[in-house]
Structures are given as structure tokens and as C-alpha cells.
């Protein structure tokens, strides 16, 4: 319980503020990828590749590939941003820069460092998602897309929660990979399957029981489909509460495991 309560501790927010200060100092270069990446992906895949893909049936409506892709990119953005922050950036701070060890010589304890990293990863994931939303608004205004924006404000807390959950997953690998080179293993064996087999970039319409079971437990699938239904049809669906439950479970289960493994790795505690 102490771990969960640490989210409200000033120490966790001090760690978050430290990361934000560093990021904002380099905002002019750091902001380029989150702005350009969705534009490029939407143009290359949505418009370019989409022009070769005829409109297809999705939940009884005929939609373009660009319309299908746009909400997927939004969900994928929070997933990848939060995961990468908690994996690569956190690993560098922990292992190479020894920032964590410095923080731990103060009133900051490891549970605060873990929460600070997770909150920062989620904050960045949310910020990048908002940039994607602005890009999608631009596509809507220019007539490329026909999206409904009324319910979108509801998804912002969900995107933040998703960021915390995916950060908890990233921190799990930060705690266990022996070296930075070993990060390819979780990336290709866990993250790529989780990210792509999730109805983000393409519909996974297989009737196989395995595929259906995978989609039920894959929180990214529920996030992508929930946002897609909201943006394309202006409907709230069961996918959104399903995503809340799954993200909540990820946080509840993964964070104590992260803390236990990181305690061993960072502090040498058995």
C-alpha cells in the first residue's frame, strides 16, 4: 500500500519536475519528433498506402484506411512514448547517469523514483497524444478526415492512465535487462506484438480463439477501438471501461514487481 500511496508524495512529483525541467530546456528540438512523426505516418501510411487500399467495412460502416489509422496512431503514440521513456530513458538515468543513486541520497526513496519515472512517462505520453490530436484536428479541418471531437476530452485521463500502465511495463524491463543491448529482446518479443496486434495499424479480424483472447486482454486494443468508436461514430463503448480496468490491473500488478526488482538492481537488496 505504501508504494501506491507514494504517488501522492512530494518526492515523486519532485522527480517528475526534474525530468520536465530537463525536457523543457530542450523543447525546441524535443518537440520535433512528436509533431512530425504523426504527420509523416498519416501521410505515408494513411494517405499514401491508403490510396491503394479500398474503403472497407468496419463495424457496419465503410471507412477509409486513413480514418481507420488516425485513432490507432493516437493510441499507439501514448503506448510507445510512455514505454520508451520508462525503458531507454529511465535505464540511462539509472545505469549510466546514476541520477537515481543521487536522488536516493536525499529524502527521495526508490518508490518515489519509480513513481516519478512513471508519472513523467505518462505526462510525456499524454503531451505527445495531444500533439497527435492537434494534427488530427488539422486533418479534419482540411477535409482529409471526418472525425467527431465532442467526447475526446473524456479520453485525456484515460491516455494518462495508459501512459502510467505502459511505463510500469517499461520499468519492468529496465529492472531486468542486463545491458542496454538486451533491450531488443523485450522490444521485439513483447512490445512489437503488443503494439501491432492491437487494431492500431490494421484490423485483426481473425476468428481464431487465440486471436480473440489476445484482443480481449490487450489493453492497447481496447484503447485504440474505444478512441476509434468515439472519433468515427461519436459513441462511447465498452472498450473504454475495459481499457481502464486493464490499465488499472497493469499498474496494480506491475509496479510492486518493478519496485522489488529495482530494489535488487539499484540498491543491492536481496
Amino acid at each position: 500500500m505504501r508504494l501506491y500511496l507514494a504517488v501522492t508524495a512530494w518526492q515523486s512529483w519532485s522527480v517528475l519536475m526534474r525530468h520536465m525541467t530537463v525536457y523543457l530546456r530542450n523543447w525546441h528540438t524535443a518537440a520535433l519528433p512528436p509533431i512530425l512523426e504523426p504527420v509523416i505516418l498519416l501521410l505515408v501510411f494513411g494517405v499514401g498506402l491508403g490510396s491503394s487500399i479500398p474503403a472497407f467495412d468496419w463495424k457496419g460502416r465503410e471507412i477509409s484506411y486513413l480514418a481507420y489509422l488516425a485513432p490507432g496512431i493516437l493510441a499507439y503514440t501514448v503506448f510507445m512514448t510512455a514505454f520508451f521513456q520508462a525503458l531507454f530513458a529511465a535505464y540511462i538515468r539509472m545505469h549510466y547517469q546514476k541520477t537515481w543513486e543521487g536522488q536516493l541520497t536525499t529524502q527521495v526513496r526508490l518508490e518515489h523514483v519509480v513513481w516519478g519515472e512513471a508519472l513523467w512517462a505518462a505526462t510525456l505520453g499524454l503531451a505527445y497524444s495531444v500533439i497527435v490530436i492537434l494534427v488530427l484536428v488539422g486533418f479534419t479541418l482540411s477535409g482529409w478526415l471526418d472525425l467527431h471531437w465532442k467526447g475526446m476530452i473524456l479520453t485525456l485521463p484515460l491516455l494518462f492512465l495508459a501512459g502510467v500502465a505502459f511505463a510500469a511495463l517499461g520499468l519492468l524491463f529496465t529492472a531486468i535487462v542486463p545491458t542496454i543491448d538486451h533491450m531488443n529482446i523485450p522490444f521485439y518479443l513483447v512490445i512489437m506484438p503488443l503494439g501491432f496486434a492491437s487494431n492500431t495499424y490494421f484490423p485483426l479480424d481473425s476468428d481464431s480463439l487465440l486471436a480473440q483472447a489476445w484482443l480481449v486482454v490487450n489493453p492497447l486494443h481496447h484503447l485504440a477501438e474505444g478512441i476509434r468508436l468515439l472519433l468515427l461514430t461519436d459513441q462511447l463503448s465498452y472498450h473504454l471501461p475495459a481499457a481502464v480496468v486493464l490499465f488499472g490491473l497493469m499498474i496494480l500488478i506491475l509496479l510492486p514487481v518493478d519496485l522489488r526488482l529495482l530494489r535488487r538492481r539499484v540498491l543491492g537488496e536481496a
Binding site: T99, T105, E269
Partner: protein
Amino acid sequence: MDAENKSPDSPLLEARGLVKHFASRRVVDAVDLHCHGGEILGMLGANGAGKTTILRMCYGFLQPDAGEIRIGGINRREDPDGANRLIGVCTQDDTFDTDFTVRDNLLRFGNYFRPRPSAIEERVDQLLGRFDLARHAAAKPETLSGGYRRRLMVARALVHQPRVLFLDEPTTGLDPQARMSVWELVDGLRQEGLGIVLTTHYMDEAERLSDKLLVLKEGAVVTSGGPRTVLGDLVGEHVVVLDANIPEADAVRQWLLDEGLERPTRILNSWQIALDGAGLARFSASFGQLRFEVRPPNLDDLFLQLADKQS
């Protein structure tokens, strides 16, 4: 409130019965520590003796399996935030925040304490001046020389005006001049009333700086007290140095056995034999014809003896 009940001469750091296991191995075994304000407690021991593990328990990185640590009267387990507010830590490795300048490292560090350090800007300026870091204030820490990095580490540990300072091998890897400047700073901090706990591999450092020494071997305290007392207890009053390749070597070895003494410590081609006054007189009577030198013991002898016993 616990802290307020302590009398002024109570130790700032008080650890009793510390025990720590890694897997099934007992790496710290019933260690007691006491350090008062204005005092430097030196911890000595060979590699693996448990020095760093004890320090890491004192500053909260590790939880002891048994025992209690009080800092300024505050029980560390019951109030870790309160205990950590009173300590400054200078770890063995540099742990700067490399995304910030020297000055910003000090300012940023102040954000990790509550109550916040008062007048933090003035405090940082004062530390930059005192540690001769003002001209490097805008530089990144990794551009500093080894000596200045250590200065920054110590300065950072003092931003919040702690009462106890932990220094884990503060001068390792520094040139003699840089080491001496760190010694002067540490000595100044002692005079200001800080309680300082120091681990070091340098015998001259421990001897010159420490008011009290704690000698550890395999996680347990072998002896403690003033440097001279510790030496007397463990090494003896005199050290006889003689050539190890003399024809009488076997006779000397036999004499030591007959006297119930340890075998001599060998350094290159010489033997070093620790003896008390009476032992020296008997040795001289038995081997008056030999050429040997007699010198007072130092902490190197102690360290070598400990390492020798460990091997």
C-alpha cells in the same frame, strides 16, 4: 519528538546491533556505531569487510535485518524522511545530475528535501565559494577534474545543512594535492560541529582525519577507539622490519611460533613483525646479531595484517 528528548552530548549517529545478510551470507554482524557532533568516525577494513554495506544501511539504501539506527535521535525505520533530512551523503561514485550545471546541481538537490533548505540561492553561492567551485558554476560536472568533482559531491551533500555527513572513500583516485584539499574541507566541517562518518582505503587519511576508528573484518568489529589505541591493540607497539631471505629465517619463524605470535607479514623481500616492548626486548636478545629496523606501527600494518588474516 524523539529527537528533541536527546541530550546535547548524545551521539548524532547511533547504530546498535546492525546485522545484514546477502543470501545466506552474514555480511554485517552485530555492529555498533556512534558518532557525535564535531567528530570523525573512520571505518577501516579490507575489501568485503562490510564498510559500504554499513554505510548504505545508515543512509537508508539497505534495511538492516536486525538492529536499530538513530540519527539525531530519530529512528530511521520509523521516520526515514526525518532521518534523511539530517544526513548528507557523498557516495563512492560520482552521482551528479549530468543534465544540469554545477550550480544547478546544488539548486536541484535542494528540491529533494522538506522542509526546503532556507535561502537556497545564498546557500548555494556560499558553498560554491567555500569549495572553490564558483568559477565552474556554469560548467557541466563531467568537465571538472577529479578533485573538483569530489568537492562538488561534498558540497552537494551539504546543501540542506545536514548534521551528519557520510563520506564513502571520498578521495579515492585523487592526486595528493587534491586529497589534501579534501582533507582540509573535511576537517573544517568537523570543526563546525558536523558528525562525519568516513570510509577509506588510505591509511594516512584515516589516521590523520579520524577521531575514532572502527576496524572491521568479515562484517564484524575487530576493535574500535582512537587511532593509537586501535594500533596498539591490533598491531602492537613496535614493528621489526628485517630481510626475509636471511639464513636465520627459519630460526625467526620458530621463535615466533614459540612466542605464540602470528607469522610475519611479508612485503616483497622483507618481513614485518609486530611486537610489544617486552617482545622486542626478547627478540633483540635472541637475534642481536641480525640487522633489522624498528619503527612505530601505522595503519598500513594494521590493514596488511587484517588482509593477511583474511587470506
